[in-house]
């Protein structure tokens, strides 16, 4: 029974983006200028550590972006050779990896690592009805008696911690072994790493890896038998929701910025290059767009998309496809409404560039307008595009939460940080407080956004020489130093 692969809209775009990234990596390899700038990003400890964390989140996103529908087992009396039917729910590879989390569904709220439910229920004990906290169906179900709970949790957490530490140690040794040539053997490399005398700040990177390992180790060790972050109102595992939300955030962050690029780049270069009436029209367009408060504009567009989707139910087969299409359209809307800033920047830069000698020379040689713009101007505004893209990534993730709260974000059926916060709002006003969803959403979201921000700052400092002078000097020492 082979499952049927499902290509969701956002999957396709994410794969396309992966290809684009590979192409860009190749460009960086062959272009010494770009290589130098990226090397500068790698030498920035904060950016390097943030990059590692981001890469982990990206990995989760990718694993969560392979979707398929399981084939259903045909009934016994079905004629041989009849068409196979597929499950109505779309799963992703991440769902398969976390199958246990999906399956461990309780009946309601439960605290992190709990083995008892959160709410009292009427139970029957020794033939007498009592009101007590019920045992959970899955969380801690393997415990023979509740007295073992603390010891079991401690043992598992410790095992996970040890495993995580071992992985971190292995990673350190591997890195030292890889760098043995430059530092006189593995021990020499280890010593240089420990005193931070390496070309790339390996010590900071390895500390990050170690912290991640030490955090993930106990998590993995515990999550098979407990709900590490508790369960929500319907008994779903909060850790699973948080991991699923990572993809939503990532898709919105990347896709929506990508969607701004075509319009911003083409119109920006056209306006700056041709000036005159072209410039006037394009300026009018983006002034009109920016003069509407952004949230309102997006809200108006999303409302219309909702109406559109309600009228065209034939465009999707499953619920997942519908909510995915909605998210895709949300990204398109964010792109179509958000290109003004970048367009303005590119226009300004193009205005400067078109007066420079190399463009004048190209004109004198009779190179066509289109070719000048594509070959001579576009490559020279790419640094602006890159900086804006990475900077807006984190903004968009934060924005998603607000939009979902306003009611114009992603579909409520889709896991997202916005949705989690939205639910957490009412949970926090319960008594006793249900705090774990909120903390989980907070932790994951801050980790993601903070990493994105630090990485973006590193990229900006590397590609925009003017920004470098603004760094707090304690950080700037390594990056700015001539010998670094």
């Amino acid at each position: 029974m082979t499952p049927k692969l499902v290509l969701l809209w956002t999957d396709v775009v994410l794969y396309a983006m992966l290809l684009l990234l590979a192409w860009y990596a190749w460009r960086v390899r062959v272009n010494p200028n770009l290589r130098a700038n990226w090397a500068r990003v790698a030498r920035d400890p904060a950016a390097l550590c943030a990059g590692i964390v981001l890469a982990l989140f990206a990995l989760v996103t990718l694993v969560d972006s392979v979707h398929f529908r399981r084939a259903l087992v045909p009934s016994a009396d079905a004629p041989a050779g009849s068409a196979t039917f597929y499950a109505t729910s779309t799963e992703s590879l991440l769902d398969t990896v976390l199958a246990r989390q999906v399956q461990m569904r309780e009946s309601g709220y439960s605290e992190p690592l709990a083995y008892l439910g959160f709410n009292m229920q009427a139970l029957e004990r020794n033939g007498k009805p009592v009101r007590d906290f019920p045992r959970l169906a899955f969380g801690g179900a393997h415990l023979a008696s509740p007295a073992d709970w603390a010891g079991d949790v401690r043992l598992r957490a410790f095992t996970g911690l040890a495993a995580g530490a071992a992985v971190a140690l292995l990673a350190t040794l591997l890195v030292a072994w890889l760098n043995r040539a430059q530092h006189g053997g593995v021990t020499g490399a280890l010593k240089d790493i420990s005193i931070d005398r390496t070309h790339v700040p390996l010590r900071a990177a390895l500390v990050t890896v170690a912290v991640v390992c030490v955090l993930v180790g106990p998590l993995v060790a515990l999550m098979g038998h407990y709900h590490v972050f508790g369960t929500d109102r319907t008994g779903n595992d909060v850790l699973y929701q948080a991991l699923k939300s990572v993809r939503t955030a990532f898709v919105i962050g990347t896709l929506a910025t990508m969607a701004t690029l075509p319009l911003a780049m083409v119109l920006g270069v056209l306006a700056g290059y041709f000036k005159g009436w072209v410039d006037e029209v394009i300026q009018y367009l983006y002034t009109t767009l920016t003069s509407v408060p952004n949230v309102l504009l997006i809200a108006a567009c999303v409302l219309m998309v909702q109406v559109f989707l309600d009228k065209h139910p034939e465009m999707f087969e499953t619920g997942a496809e519908r909510s995915d299409l909605k998210m895709f359209l949300l990204c398109v809307i964010l792109g179509l409404t958000g290109w003004a800033t970048l367009c303005r920047l590119i226009r300004g830069e193009t205005l400067k560039l078109r007066e420079l000698d190399f463009v004048q020379a190209a004109t004198a040689f009779g190179v066509s307008h289109a070719r000048i713009m594509a070959r001579h101007i576009m490559p020279n505004v790419m640094h602006l595009v890159l900086i804006t893209t990475v900077l807006s990534f984190s903004d968009l993730i934060l924005y998603e939460a607000v939009l979902t709260y306003v009611g114009v974000g992603v579909d409520p059926s889709m896991n997202s940080f916005g949705g989690m916060i939205n639910l957490a709002r009412s949970e926090m006003s319960r008594d006793p407080v249900v705090w774990w969803s909120f903390i989980a959403a907070f932790g994951f979201m801050v980790a993601l956004v903070l990493a994105a921000n630090l990485f973006a700052d590193g990229v900006r400092d590397a590609f925009d020489p003017r920004a470098r002078s603004l760094r707090p000097s304690v950080l700037a020492r390594r990056v700015a130093g001539p010998s670094a």
Binding site: Y284, T288, P293, V295, G407, A424, M428, F438, M445, L470
Partner: protein
């Protein structure tokens, strides 16, 4: 100056026409008046008679863009777009689409005051607090205070404003019982409802703003006039407050000014979280209730305010920097 104003307002009118056409196209191309009627009457079975009646009542009983049945200019004017646009430009917003058909203009008037009560103090305190924090960082630049200050800013701006609101509400209202959780009353009692949203709004934007302002100050501090001032023997504080602050005013005005339309429209999220009946909450209610007439009116109002605030920013430039001439 007068010339400048006339030109800017003319361009503003042009932009408003664009915004207006865009919103109408957006709303009516996907959603015909019949659909709107069906949505708002509700229920499973809606007869054509009911739809026609609803459309006549609400003034949607004309063609949307072009009336072929009419003669001459009436082909254009006897349409929904024309009628609605003309009344919008006269700032007559009409009634909402939903069942209770509130008078949008009246709602805006009453709610605007509430929004301003919340937003004006936030706006002023925001500029003040961010400038003060940024100046502190700049004063201690190249030191640990600067470094950790910037780290704090980055961490603060990585936290969604929703988190600040939820934590603030739980901590100050539910645990310490200092202020009510949400709600609003007119008069002086309003203060106790507004103080928490104000503080939280300040905190949630401090990271972004302070980092931005710090960059602006640092940009100024490398300039010649600062060196001259130091060479004259002025103290660092005098250099910062008397010279750098004044010169950095222009970018600060630009950045703070871009926030002005939201001062009038109210901070959407804060108003709705704290149950303050301002324009922001109005918009969110309209969005959740799918009331397109209100959303359309607010888009238009937002554009008007944006254009007005841009002109205001330009006028402030001349006040902040006498070298700037508006022609």
């Amino acid at each position: 100056m007068l010339n400048y104003l006339i030109r800017r307002l003319g361009y503003g009118a042009l932009i408003l026409i664009g915004v207006n056409l865009f919103t109408f196209f957006l709303f009516f191309s996907v959603n015909t008046p019949d659909d709107m009627a069906r949505l708002n009457i509700g229920g499973k079975r809606v007869t054509q008679d009911q739809i026609e009646k609803w459309k006549t009542e609400r003034g949607y009983d004309k063609p949307v863009y072009w009336d072929a049945k009419e003669q001459g200019a009436a082909k254009l004017t006897h349409t929904i777009v024309w009628e609605r646009s003309v009344s919008l430009f006269a700032l007559d917003f009409g009634r909402s689409d939903s069942q209770n058909a509130v008078d949008i203009g009246h709602e805006i008037k009453t709610r605007m005051g509430v929004s301003l009560q919340l937003a004006v103090p936030i706006f002023i305190l925001q500029v003040f607090a961010s400038t003060a924090f940024a100046l502190l960082l700049v004063f201690f630049r190249h030191s640990r205070i600067d470094f950790w200050g910037v780290v704090l800013c980055v961490v603060m701006l990585s936290i969604s404003s929703l988190f600040y609101i939820i934590v603030g509400q739980v901590f100050f209202s539910r645990m310490l019982h200092l202020v009510p959780i949400s709600g609003y009353e007119g008069g002086l009692t309003a203060v106790k409802f507004l103080v928490l949203p104000m503080i939280l709004s300040l905190i949630s934007r401090l990271g972004t703003e302070a980092r931005l302002y710090r960059a602006m100050f640092l940009e100024e501090i490398g300039k010649d006039y600062v060196r001259t001032a130091r060479a004259k023997g002025l103290g660092e504080a005098v250099v910062l407050f008397r010279h750098v602050l004044k010169n950095a005013a222009i970018p600060i005005i630009t950045s703070a000014g871009s926030y002005l339309p939201y001062v009038f429209l109210g901070s959407l999220v804060f108003e709705s979280f704290f149950g303050i009946p301002g324009l922001g909450a109005f918009v969110i209610d309209a969005i959740t209730g799918q009331d397109f007439a209100i959303v359309r009116s607010m888009v238009f109002l937002g554009a008007v305010l944006y254009i007005a605030s841009n002109v205001l920013i330009d006028l402030t430039y001349t006040w902040a920097d006498p070298r700037v001439r508006l022609t």
